[in-house]
């Protein structure tokens, strides 16, 4: 889209999480408003990984946090297992958070430096799990084992004694210890070296298979997202541009923005010619006063009057591939257009 619409949502009974028309706005002083997220809809089936990609400032992290009601979205619906989380009381929400956990970008600062690893991973259990220390340790050591950390060695050590990759494993153990259904990973590998990044991505795939997890994977690196995701949603300035099964999205991008992102990606192969024409110029406009119509039009090579006047809505390209663009790069399915009208 850089537009709105819900044509791409599947039957709600299949979805573990369904986000409909999500808006997140922040006051910015002087009576102005930051439109961080403006009408995002998506759903995730159980056991699926949804990748959210886009440049910094496109609202992908805000979307992830809004699912956990941190903060509560301005408008819209977030339904987990059919229950709308935006409407529930704070105490019910606390309980629901055991089903949805989060992994953050910076593995070192997201662990309390004064606690031992045993305490850090047991912390969620202190709130919701067994209070008996032996029972807790049984769970904690099982989790640490699962993420590739020797529990007996790590138990009394503190986070600073571990490398960045090890700390990220500990954060993952902490997120898993309550056996959540959904994990929101907010740039979990951006701060890590390529070699460690590969270890963590492999680990997430293994854990997903072992514990039947559903993941929202937020990242700006398209290659990382493609590797781990079943479906990928491309975001731009608070709107969704395109959503599709990931192999299809990378093979046949329909939105000019998706194409721009893919063409900007450095390829580790010197025989591939670098096209210096793409990504010509331009940066993300301010979310304080987003452009009218399609939000991507200020940087889009195909933009014309209709893009200024009308906001594009989600239309089907094929199968599970949807795009919000007035001038998509591949033809859209007309039947689906009438369905959304």
């Amino acid at each position: 889209m850089a537009g709105t619409g819900t044509a791409h949502l599947r039957q709600s009974s299949e979805a573990l999480l369904q986000v409909t028309n999500l808006h997140v706005e922040f006051p910015a002083g002087g009576g102005r408003t930051v439109y961080a997220v403006s009408g995002i809809s998506f759903d995730i089936a159980k056991g699926e990984t949804l990748g959210l990609v886009g440049e910094s400032g496109c609202g992908k992290s805000t979307t992830g946090r809004a699912i956990l009601q941190l903060p509560k979205p301005t408008r819209g619906e977030v339904s987990l297992n059919g229950e709308d989380l935006t409407g529930v009381s704070d105490s019910v929400m606390r309980e629901r958070r055991t089903d949805v956990q989060m992994i953050f970008q910076d593995p070192i600062s997201s662990l309390n430096p004064r606690r031992t690893v045993g305490e850090v991973v047991a912390e969620p259990l202190n709130v919701w799990g067994p209070k008996n220390k032996d029972e807790q340790w049984a769970k904690v050591s099982k989790m640490l084992d699962a993420v590739g950390i020797d529990p007996d060695v790590a138990r009394y050590k503190r986070p600073h004694e571990f490398s960045g990759g090890q700390c990220q494993r500990i954060s993952i153990a902490r997120a898993l210890v309550l056996e959540p259904e959904l994990i929101i990973c907010d740039e979990p590998v951006s701060a890590l070296d390529v070699s460690v990044q590969a270890q963590i991505l492999n680990l997430l795939e293994d854990l997903k298979a072992e514990y039947g997890l559903t993941l929202v994977f937020i990242a700006h690196d398209l290659a990382v997202v493609k590797n781990i995701s079943d479906r990928v949603a491309v975001m731009y300035l608070g709107k969704m541009c395109e959503i599709s099964e990931s192999d299809e999205l990378y093979a046949n991008p329909a939105h000019p923005y998706t194409q721009l992102l893919l063409e900007s990606l450095p390829v580790p192969d010197p025989t591939v010619e670098i096209d210096e024409g793409v990504a010509a110029e331009g940066e993300l406009p301010s979310p304080l006063s987003p452009p009218s119509g399609c939000r991507f039009r200020t940087r889009c090579p195909h933009a014309d009057e209709i893009c200024t006047e009308q906001e594009p809505i989600m239309r089907r390209v094929s199968g599970d591939h949807f795009v919000a663009c007035h001038h998509p790069l591949i033809e859209v399915d007309d039947v689906a257009v009438s369905l959304t009208a």
């Binding site: 990759g165 090890q166 590969a198 492999n202 680990l203 590797n227 900007s264 450095p266 670098i274 110029e281």
Partner: protein
């Protein structure tokens, strides 16, 4: 920019032969526990107008290498030995006062973080003119003209208006453009780009890399690009040097390197990057372990503790860079990739259940802690019984 070029002609450096010859360069940081051997015997030659990519993980010494060449390691506990000849001139042992005449005019650096490498309380215009006035002795009005022209050449829209901006009024990409403009201000012949795009979005990264390539062509600069991302250097460098634990382990013309990787570390680095032409959920080949302690590195090959092919010889005898073959390909390995010895070594390690070999073969999860890896192998074995 013509006026700065005129001034540059006045420098007394010779114009023939390679621009940069580094021989056995070592930078050690003396700390209470011993000497941190950040750069430990690096030799390289760089021809004029060429681009060298220096690649490695964090802690491989790639940043310290470029800072050592430029003489920027001014901390009291840094000891640099060896030789750096820039256009025939010896740089090791020069004081910062003497180096000052080279910085900016002959060699300049673009740093990783555009958010912190600009002074936040000084307008970007003055940060540019400061350079030109100091090094080229220009007047205020001339300097401003040059600065606006520089901002335009790095494609900053409305350069006159941007001249009066503070850094916080600009986006990350714009700030990196300003940093590049500052580096280019006095027309250096040699540009160091230290992870210039790591902090930027992929679209902005593409713009900045294109800008650097264009400026390099227009100004016939020699460039060293330091990065951890093989993708960034693949299409944009003439040669690549792969660093590990302060040493160059493989060096080759870019195309030769990618076509025929010989060092297990280079191969492991490439394999661990996810690629968009692979189907989703493709299992990545991760490298187990992490770079060694640079105070007391292991004897023998520094990569041996993590290498799936390592044999006893690797743990005892340190391999040296072999002389270049016909393609200019150098590498330091006893069991290079693509040889029967390498395949035998892998099979032997697999049979002996060496943890890092099992990890490379995907039998157990690779972790960056080798002790934890042994634990995992143990767990996997117990699972089998």
């Amino acid at each position: 920019m013509t006026n700065t070029a005129d001034v540059r002609l006045g420098s007394d450096t010779s114009d023939t032969g390679p621009l940069l010859v580094v021989e056995d360069l070592r930078t050690h940081f003396i700390v209470p526990a011993g000497a941190v051997k950040a750069v430990d015997g690096v030799s390289l030659t760089l021809e004029r107008g060429k681009t060298l990519g220096v690649v490695g993980e964090s802690g491989s010494g790639k940043t310290i290498l470029s800072r050592s060449i430029m003489g920027l390691n001014v901390v009291a506990n840094a000891v640099t030995t060896g030789s750096v000849k820039y256009a025939g001139m010896e740089l090791v042992g020069q004081s910062p006062k003497q180096m000052k005449h080279l910085w900016g005019v002959e060699m300049a650096m673009v740093f990783q973080d555009p958010m912190t490498s600009l002074n936040p309380v000084v307008k970007v215009g003055r940060q540019l003119t400061e350079h030109v006035r100091q090094h080229l002795g220009m007047g205020k009005a001339d300097a401003k003209e040059v600065a606006v022209e520089l901002l335009r050449s790095v494609r900053i829209p409305e350069p006159e208006a941007r001249f009066d901006n503070y850094p916080h009024q600009m986006s990350g990409g714009m700030r990196q453009r300003v940093c590049i403009a500052i580096a280019l201000a006095c027309g250096p012949k040699m540009l160091f780009a230290d992870e210039p795009t790591t902090a930027l979005d992929v679209t902005v990264q593409h713009q900045i890399l294109n800008l650097l390539a264009g400026q390099q062509r227009d100004r016939f600069m020699t460039m060293i690009m330091v990065t951890h991302d093989l993708g960034v250097v693949a299409g944009r460098t003439d040669d690549i040097a792969v660093m590990y634990a302060g040493k160059i382990v493989e060096k080759a013309p870019t195309k030769a390197l990618f076509a025929d990787m010989r060092h297990p570390y280079t191969q492991a680095l490439l394999f661990s990057i996810p690629k968009t032409n692979q189907p989703k959920h493709t299992r990545l080949t991760a490298i187990a372990g992490r770079p060694p302690d640079l105070i007391s590195p292991p004897p023998g090959c520094k990569f041996a503790p993590r290498c799936p092919y390592a044999q006893d010889r690797c743990r005892e005898e340190e391999p040296v860079l072999r002389p270049a073959d016909e393609f200019g390909h150098e590498f330091a390995c006893h069991f290079p990739i693509g040889t029967p010895e390498n395949e035998e070594a892998f099979q032997r390690n697999l049979d002996a259940e060496v943890p890092q070999t099992l990890a490379a073969a995907g039998r157990v999860q690779a972790t960056d802690d080798l002790a934890a890896l042994e634990h995992l192998v143990q767990v996997a074995k117990e699972g089998d019984h």
